[in-house]
C-alpha cells in the first residue's frame, strides 16, 4: 500500500517535470510557426507572398483582407540583408521575426525616408563596420541593428480596395531581399 502511494507521488512529481519540460520545448519544436512554414516552401532570400497558396493551403491566421504580407528569410552570416522596393504605396510596415517565429522588431513607413521601403538589417559588428563609412548605395537606407543571426523580414502592404491590387502586386514583385556585401 505504501509502495503504491510512493509510486503515485513519484508519478505526480514526474508529471510536473514533464509538463514544464514540454512547455519549454514546445516553441523550438513547433512546425506551425512562420519560420518553419517559410523554410518548408522557400529558400533564404526568396520573397514569398504569405497567402494560402504559398504556404500549402494554410495561411497564417488571423488574416486581414486589406493587408498583403510577403516575407523572406535571411542569415546575417551572409552579410546584412537589404529589403527594398522602388515603388510607393499608401502604407507598408515591416516586422522582423526570429527563428522561433516570434516578433522582435517592427517599423512602419512613417520612419523611412520619403516612405520608401529600403531597410537594411544587420548585426552589431556589421553596424560598426557601416558606421566607419556608409557605402554610397545605402545612403538612404534605414538601418536596423539586431541580435539575431537568422530570421525573417516580413513586409505588410495595405491595399485599400480592389483598384490597388495592381499597384500592390507591382510593389511586391519589385521587392528584393538580398545580402549586402560590405568591403
Amino acid at each position: 500500500m505504501l509502495r503504491l502511494l510512493y509510486a503515485i507521488v513519484l508519478g505526480l512529481v514526474g508529471a510536473g517535470i514533464v509538463h514544464i519540460a514540454v512547455l519549454l520545448m514546445l516553441p523550438s519544436y513547433s512546425e506551425r510557426d512562420i519560420w518553419s512554414r517559410l523554410s518548408a516552401v522557400a529558400g533564404p532570400y526568396a520573397v514569398v507572398r504569405l497567402d494560402s497558396n504559398a504556404l500549402g493551403g494554410r495561411s497564417p491566421a488571423p488574416a486581414n483582407p486589406f493587408l498583403v504580407p510577403a516575407a523572406c528569410r535571411f542569415d546575417l552570416a551572409d552579410g546584412p540583408v537589404r529589403v527594398q522596393s522602388p515603388d510607393t504605396i499608401p502604407f507598408w510596415s515591416l516586422a522582423i521575426y526570429d527563428n522561433n517565429g516570434l516578433n522582435v522588431f517592427s517599423i512602419t513607413d512613417r520612419t523611412a525616408t520619403d516612405r520608401v521601403l529600403d531597410i537594411v538589417t544587420l548585426s552589431t559588428e556589421q553596424m560598426q563596420q557601416v558606421r566607419s563609412g556608409v557605402p554610397d548605395e545605402l545612403g538612404r537606407s534605414v538601418f536596423i541593428e539586431t541580435g539575431l543571426e537568422e530570421g525573417i523580414v516580413l513586409v505588410r502592404v495595405f491595399a485599400p480596395d480592389e483598384t490597388w491590387r495592381g499597384v500592390v502586386d507591382a510593389f511586391l514583385n519589385e521587392m528584393s531581399c538580398s545580402p549586402v556585401v560590405l568591403d
Binding site: 522561433n100 512602419t108 495595405f158
Partner: protein
C-alpha cells in the same frame, strides 16, 4: 518482481500522461494571459513576442501566425455586443463612436477561427478608413448587416456566430500608451432575422 514492474509503469504513466495531458488542457482551454479589454473589444498586445509568459508562447507556437508588431499596429476583436450577447451573422449591428488615432484602420467580420467571412456578391465583409463616408459633426457609424444599408455597410453572410476584427495600423496606442483607458466604437444590436 511483477509488482515492481507494475508500480514503475504506473509512475511513468502518471508522469508522462499527466504532464502532457495537463499541458494540453491548459493550452487548449485556459483563457489567454495578457489580454487588454476595452468595452466589447479585446487585444493581445504581446502576442507572439518575446515578452510573453511560457504558456502564451506555447499556445502561439501551436497555432502559428504573424501578429502585428507593436510599431505596426494593434488588432482588437469583439465576439459580443455591448449587452453581452454573442455576435450573430443573422443580426444587424451598429458600430458607433470615435476611432482612436491611427494612420489607417480596417474593420472586418470573421468566423470564430479568424478566417474573414466570404464576400456578399462583390462586397467583401470588410471596410477600411479609406472607404468610409463621414457626415460632418457626427461620429463614425458603421452598420454591420446581412441586408443592404445606407452609408457605411459592412456586408455579412451566413448563419453562425462571428467576430468583428478592428485593426489600427500605425497607431501611437500600440507603442505602450494606456490601452485600458482607450475608447473604441460601441457595438449595439439593432435587430435580428427570425
Amino acid at each position: 518482481m511483477l509488482r515492481t514492474v507494475l508500480l514503475t509503469l504506473l509512475t511513468l504513466l502518471i508522469a508522462i500522461g499527466g504532464g502532457a495531458g495537463s499541458l494540453y488542457l491548459f493550452i487548449k482551454s485556459a483563457p489567454p494571459i495578457g489580454a487588454v479589454h476595452s468595452g466589447s473589444w479585446t487585444a493581445f498586445p504581446n502576442l507572439g513576442t518575446t515578452h510573453t509568459d511560457p504558456y502564451s508562447r506555447g499556445r502561439f507556437a501551436r497555432e502559428g501566425g504573424i501578429p502585428l508588431g507593436s510599431a505596426e499596429g494593434i488588432v482588437f476583436t469583439a465576439t459580443r455586443d455591448v449587452a453581452g450577447r454573442p455576435l450573430s451573422r443573422r443580426c444587424t449591428y451598429r458600430v458607433e463612436g470615435a476611432m482612436p488615432s491611427a494612420q489607417f484602420w480596417t474593420l472586418h467580420a470573421a468566423d470564430m477561427a479568424g478566417t474573414p467571412l466570404p464576400s456578399l456578391g462583390r462586397r467583401a465583409a470588410a471596410l477600411n478608413s479609406q472607404m468610409i463616408l463621414r457626415r460632418p459633426g457626427e461620429a463614425l457609424a458603421i452598420t454591420v448587416s446581412p441586408h443592404p444599408q445606407p452609408d457605411n455597410w459592412l456586408a455579412i453572410t451566413g448563419q453562425a456566430s462571428m467576430q468583428l476584427v478592428l485593426t489600427l495600423l500605425d497607431t501611437p496606442l500600440s507603442a505602450g500608451f494606456e490601452l485600458t483607458q482607450l475608447a473604441l466604437p460601441r457595438i449595439t444590436q439593432v435587430n435580428c432575422d427570425a
